[in-house]
Structure formats: C-alpha cells, structure tokens
C-alpha cells in the first residue's frame, strides 16, 4: 500500500527551452521536489522541512554503527505460511529476491561508538515491515540474548502493523515480543526505541511503545490506527500534523526527537549513562 509513497518526478529547471531534467523526489510531507542526488547525500532527509525519509536496514546499519561491528542473528530464518494464505509463499520468495532480505527485520549485535548493544532494524521495503512469525521470533530472541548477556537493546522500528497474511499468529507476536521486552526490563536492561517512518498498528501497540527511552526521527508518522480509517470513522478531516512525531511528543508519547546526523552520538551517550564504567565517549 505504501509502494508508491515516494514518487520520482522529473524536475524541470525553470521550464527553459532546453528542458534539462534530473531525477527528483517529492517530499511526502512538504511536497517540495528534491533532486535525488541531493536527497541521497543527506541520507534521505528533506532539506526543506527536515522530514526523515525511509532507509533500508543496510543503510541504517552503515550510518549508525561502528564500521564492521554488526554481527547478525538468525540470518536464515524465513517464515512459513501458517494460515495457507493464497500467494503468500510466492510473494515472500519474490521479496527475498528483490530486497535481499529474508524478512522485515535484521537483528544482531553492534558497537555504537564503542558501546555494545543488541540491535534490531526494521525495513519497510519488505511487506511494509509488517510483523509476522519471523519478526516476532527474531525480536524475542534478541531481547532474550540481551537479558542473558546484560546488554542494552536499541530497536529502529518501522511497520504497517501486524502481518495480515499470517492471521492470528501475527497478532500473537505482539504478546511474544512485549513479553520478551518485559523480562529484559525486569532484569534491569536498558531499552531504547527509535521510531522511524512509519511506526503504526500492532508494532506501536507492542514493543515500539515499551522503550525506557523513546526517540523519534523528525516528521515521521506514529500511530495506532491509520489516518484514513480515523477520517472515515469521524467523517472529518484531521489536522495536517496529526500523528507526526512532533504531535506525538506534544501528547506525551515521545521523549525526544533526534536528527539522523546526531543519532549515533545520542545513542552512544545515552547507553554510556546507563553503564557503570566512567569512560567518556
């Protein structure tokens, strides 16, 4: 449903006679056209309104963790088809091919400016990063590993919600992940969530909302129900900023909004403040 979220448009210079054009992208928040090259240079941040666009898990790993420090967990885990949903198996095979991912989340351990953490990064290119058996299992295992090894957890969330194609089994992943978070929390572990665009549905209603510290990237969407669903229930237009990170912070559900370029240092300092040694980062 979000596949055409970023529409690549042709950017015309002054509409001049020569009609030179370079590929550009329309910011989904402020609608301004951004040359693709510039947008990539800025790690997909809109230079006009500071909307933080979607990154793949690999891109996120590259800009957040110490070079070469990421060690992946459960790399080969793939989902079955618990309710025999038509075409689900085929669709997944196709997505594995096109995205190079085995499902919508990558988990593992990494160093953030020398601080070790268990990490998870969701990737919206894979079925809108919906949560099914694999996402649930990988997150539960990541938290259990962190609990056993006394490590903090950092989760970069993005999701359309529960994975419909797995029926009730996907709903139960909310319980599985939240349970694992709770046990990690009860053992004294630090959990930081970084909400990225978009974090919605069953992921908002489970592990994404359970961080000790909840960070959001600027202008990203955070919500439980979708905007269109709410508009059709209420039969009225919602304000422009509804469910954006800044709105959700105003309502009390986000601790801090952090720019992508400061994410690495922010995470490293926050983790440092929750460990006993005094090494300054």
């Amino acid at each position: 449903m979000f596949d055409d979220f970023f529409k690549v448009v042709k950017y015309r210079f002054n509409g001049g006679e020569e009609e030179e054009s370079a590929p550009s992208i329309k910011c989904p928040r402020c609608q301004s056209n951004i040359p693709v090259e510039r947008y990539e240079e800025l790690h997909r941040v809109c230079p006009n309104c500071n909307y933080h666009g979607r990154l793949s898990a690999r891109e996120r790993i590259a800009i957040t963790f110490d070079k070469g420090s990421f060690e992946e967990f459960d790399k080969d885990m793939i989902s079955c088809d618990p309710i025999n949903f038509p075409d689900y198996t085929e669709k997944q095979a196709e997505l594995r091919e096109t995205t190079g991912l085995n499902d919508a989340i990558v988990t593992g351990t990494a160093l953030i400016k020398g601080r070790r953490a268990v990490v998870g990064i969701m990737d919206s290119r894979y079925m809108m990063a919906s949560m099914g058996s694999v996402v649930g299992e990988k997150i539960a295992r990541a938290f259990e590993y962190a609990t056993e090894n006394n490590l903090p957890v950092v989760m970069f969330t993005a999701s359309g919600g529960a994975r419909m194609q797995e029926g009730i089994v996907s709903l139960m992943q909310m319980a599985k992940t939240s349970g694992a978070v709770k046990l990690h929390s009860d053992s004294g572990g630090l959990y930081i969530t970084v909400l990225t665009d978009p974090t919605t549905g069953g992921v908002t209603a489970s592990f994404a909302s359970l961080g000790d510290i909840i960070i959001a990237e600027p202008k990203i969407l955070i919500g439980f129900a979708g905007r269109r669903v709410i508009e059709s229930t209420m039969k009225q237009r919602l304000p422009e900023d509804f469910q954006l990170a800044e709105f959700m912070q105003q309502k009390g559900f986000v601790d801090m909004i952090v720019d992508r370029k400061k994410m690495r240092s922010t995470l490293s300092k926050l983790i440092a403040m929750h460990t006993n040694d005094r090494k300054e980062v």
Binding site: F85, K176, S209, L210
Partner: protein, 268 residues
C-alpha cells in the same frame, strides 16, 4: 458441538440480536459483584467494565469488554470499542488483583480498539502495549474467555493469560474480516471470503495454540439458553481458577510466557 458451520455463519451468530453480553452473564456466574470505575488518570470508559465479585464464594477480579443489547446501550459503550482509558482501567484493576492475590478473569468481546482522534491523542498504542507487557508478568492467575468477537490488539490487551477459552461460536482475529478484505484486497465487500480464509474459529484457535479450551454453546447459539451457557462458563472457570491457584506463581509465569513464546511458524 456443531461442527458444520462456516466461520462466516458463526460470525452471523455472534452478531445475532439477543446474543448474551457480559451484563447478562455476571449475575448468573458470580455473586456480590461490585463494579469499579475509572483509570485514575483521565476518565471512565464504558466499553470496559471491571470490579470484584465472588466465584463459588472465592473473590475474583472481573475485567470485561461490554457490548450493548440495543442501540442506546451500544452508544453508551461505544459498540465495545475501548478508548485508552478503558485499557488503563483494566490494568489498574489487574494490579489491584495482584496486590490482594485475587485471580483475574477477562471477558473479551470487541470488534477492536476504538480508531479515532481521541484514542490516538491519548495513546491507544501505548495503552495496549503496556497491558500486554504487564499482564505477562502479573503475579496472579489470569483466565481469558472470548465471548463473541476478539478483534485485533484491542482484544489481546485483555488476552495475555494462563489459559484462553473460546465460546463455541466466538472468533479471534488479527483484524475484523471487513478490515482484512479492505486492507489486503482494497474491497471491504469481500468480508465473507476473508472471514472464511482467515482461520478465526474456536477450533482454529486450539489448533494454532492460541486457545486451550472450547466452551460448548446450547444448540443454535448462546442466546437460545442463557442459563445453560452461563452454567458452562461457570463450570469451566471454577475448575480452572482452582487449578491455576494451586500452582506455584513462578511456574505459572514461566508457562504463561512459554505459551505465547512458542506461537509462530518459521524455518531456519
């Protein structure tokens, strides 16, 4: 039990006017019910009721989603679609039960959590997430029963338990069949087809490891014999509460986590 009905036919039964609601069941299953109001934070949501009562003489905490029996009642309880304060009231009462070592009985009957501006502004996602996490480690037995519809995270917020029972015609699903058809096929009118392939019946829940028990309904559905269905529910609860209360609480919590931990199908 009747085994020939399709999921869609069962859903029609659940939507039959006259299908008993929690208000009908309480006086027939419990005694000394004292309702408690409010989440102590914002307000009192009428889609969730809760309080304390006796089951066979033993004090228990009841938390339930409320469907209306007519339009006026439905307006009052928002068609059983809770707001965040409904879930926060549930959590407050669950914590109260934990403090006084009372078992908790949750009755699930909702098409889903309310989708609206007020719900979003007050943190519907956070409220549901918190219930799920807190119920997982609540140090007292929890039994949940799906009476009619168990829709999405709005149902799961009362569904983290030691054992889940389904009334024979009840359904539990990731989203309503209508929502499912609308999201996956962009066509809400295909809800019957959705309902029949989603695997939402009591049998499906037992097979998928989500529910442990099916409570038999009278022939034709619960509305045909309120006394009989109430008796069946009471018999089940009395047995289970007794059984769970005898268990060591740490063992119980371990089993509760494991119940959810093992649901999921994947290969490596």
């Amino acid at each position: 039990m009747e085994n020939t009905k399709t999921a869609w036919e069962r859903l029609a039964l659940v939507h039959t006017k006259g299908r008993p609601t929690i208000r009908d069941y309480i006086p027939l299953i419990f005694t000394d019910f004292y309702e408690m109001h409010g989440d102590r934070l914002y307000g009192d949501d009428h889609a969730v009721i809760g309080g304390i009562a006796r089951l066979e003489g033993k004090p228990v905490t009841i938390i339930a989603q409320v469907k209306g029996r007519d339009l006026n009642e439905n307006k009052d309880c928002n068609f059983a679609m809770p707001l965040p304060e409904g879930y926060r009231k549930a959590l407050r009462l669950a914590k109260q039960a934990e403090k006084f070592h009372r078992p908790v009985i949750c009755f699930i009957d909702t098409p889903g959590a309310y989708a609206g501006m007020a719900a979003e502004e007050r943190g519907q996602g956070e409220a549901i997430a918190k219930n799920i996490a807190e119920f997982m480690t609540l140090r007292t037995p929890i039994i949940s029963i799906v009476l009619g519809e168990g829709g999405s995270g709005g149902a799961l917020a009362l569904g983290v338990c030691d054992e889940l029972a389904m009334l024979e015609n009840a359904q539990y699903s990731v989203v309503s069949p209508r929502g499912f058809a609308s999201i996956l096929w962009k066509d809400a009118s295909r809800e019957e087809e959705a309902c029949n392939i989603m695997q939402v019946t009591a049998d499906d829940m037992v097979r998928l490891g989500v529910a442990e028990t099916i409570i038999e309904e009278p022939l034709g559905g619960a509305h045909n014999d309120l006394d009989k269905i109430s008796e069946n529910i009471k018999e089940y609860l009395s047995l289970k509460i007794e059984e769970k209360c005898q268990k060591d609480i740490d063992e119980l919590l371990k089993a509760r986590y494991t119940k959810f931990r093992k649901i999921g199908e994947f290969t490596e």
